[in-house]
Chain length 357, copies 2
Amino acid sequence: MKVPELSLVLVGFGHVGRRFALLLTEVADRLDFEWRIVAIATGRHGSVVDPGGVDATRALAAVAADQSLDRLDAEPRQRSGLDVIRQAAALLADDAAEGRLVLVESTVLDIDRGEPALSHVRAALEAQMHVVTVNKGPTAFAYNELASLADTVDRVFFFEGAVMDGVPVFNLVRETMPAVRIDGFRGVINTTSNFVLSALEQGQPFELALREMQARGIAEADPTLDIEGWDAAAKTAALVNVLMGGAITPHQVARTGITDVRATDVRDALARGRRIRLVATARWQGHTLLARVEPELLASDDPLAGLADTANALYLTTDLLGEVGIVQREGSLTQTAYALLSDLTRISLRLRDWTDQ
Amino acid sequence: MKVPELSLVLVGFGHVGRRFALLLTEVADRLDFEWRIVAIATGRHGSVVDPGGVDATRALAAVAADQSLDRLDAEPRQRSGLDVIRQAAALLADDAAEGRLVLVESTVLDIDRGEPALSHVRAALEAQMHVVTVNKGPTAFAYNELASLADTVDRVFFFEGAVMDGVPVFNLVRETMPAVRIDGFRGVINTTSNFVLSALEQGQPFELALREMQARGIAEADPTLDIEGWDAAAKTAALVNVLMGGAITPHQVARTGITDVRATDVRDALARGRRIRLVATARWQGHTLLARVEPELLASDDPLAGLADTANALYLTTDLLGEVGIVQREGSLTQTAYALLSDLTRISLRLRDWTDQ
């Protein structure tokens, strides 16, 4: 069986994109595909396109030294992420036609419209590229459109990392729970808020905990997206759209963040054996889909109560399997980067099936 | 795309086998395959082989009325499960050659040697049948042999229901966690013991709780297998063999059941905010694989402490994703039967891929 070689276009090269580039090399001997990075687009460090292969080590070093990637390009120029996608698609049209050209999207979320990720995904699919992303924007704002476009062009649009990093949520349902109907869910799915609430329980200051999450590269670039519940709302919309057949945006999720949660409330709850957690919920009420994110006071035997620090969990309400939970006991950048890797493996599997025919 | 038609040989037609036959009909409109039952073998209610299709409703009615299935057979005879497998394979050699003949195995576990399930699986694979089973015996006693045999004959050997019913454990790792190394696990995986311990916490008698589990069809036919830890040990061996590359049997799992757990211990623990649970554990210590099942006194923040009644959970220790948990909040016969259905769906998917070539 031939090992597929994937040509990767990295759009977004922040904490996650850079960890992904390293992780690929670290676990190369376990992967059933080969790859080369043919382009990298960043927000603040220029871009490089090289169909012969970008040297990841040099790219990582350049960004670490706060230098522009333009210096790695034979013909450097001012390019947006969208420009890079289109240029790569034009230069590597054969790879695209063979289904070996992949957009690896990890830009920063814009909660107003899901951009620029949404346009990146759309442009890549239109250019016959597969898409893997950790970005919540595309599924939270336009899942149905993008999934249908992917079907039409016979390419995949995968986004395992949009919720709970590399711990399977979307693949869990798609690959391991066939014929099961998802009637709703309940989860703790924003790591930064959970870390902050856990810190408050321990008597630590809100601000310090938030800075710790930023230092670890886990908080959003704009951490108000975390603490005001926008990140959880985007994930809720993504889950509703993908798993429950909904068609909502994060703006349709009733949302209360943890900004107004007082340290004394958190500690009083703990003293009574209870916990305050930022809980995301969705369920059908008749034909109406109720989706919300808000701090809840949880009883000690609530399965979400025991989640501390960087733990996440999602409990799905199903018809055939009752309530099924998937739990991530600790979150890290490696896990987010792994999500992209696991999605790439699914593409590779698909290419093998094609090649075998 | 053609919808595959599977020919099913049901060996074992107890609580699980009968619930499976019903469930197939209940969710028929969600399945991407068609099927007919071509044989049923039971331990105490005879057997029937009919390549034209056995009427499931009549078979269910016969067993419910404590009648023999022989009356549904044109040429009834005394047959073992093994006889039925061989006869079906001979009569349906074309289906077998086309990969559409499937053994659905749900016999009772014999903890000494994993028989008769092990022989059933081996014989079916040798006859070019696919195999799906909820039985722990085959994976607990001979996973490596059977997986290798399945590879050789290009048929699948699936067993999702061997641990945590239809909630994905084996498929979770195989299908959604590529390139991840499983270094160990810890779980509450015997429903009956957990139900009994929960009942003791509530001041209910051991015997009453055990009878309740028998009445629901959840306890093993011989419930001492549950309360003496054999069921959990068999599942532990299955997990070790499949997920950690081990080659052990249940007899190599250090095992203590809940027979000697006193109600006062359980209630004292609860009064101190702690729980006693039957915990299955495996991990590598150097090159030695440690596997054990024993009642543990759990702190209140242990993720296994909150599991009550029929809940199960398994926490996998991984290298790339940290600790990942999968939780079944309630167990029922439907969920066990669903495991067979989810495995059949994977076979159907494979047949579609073949057909498309």
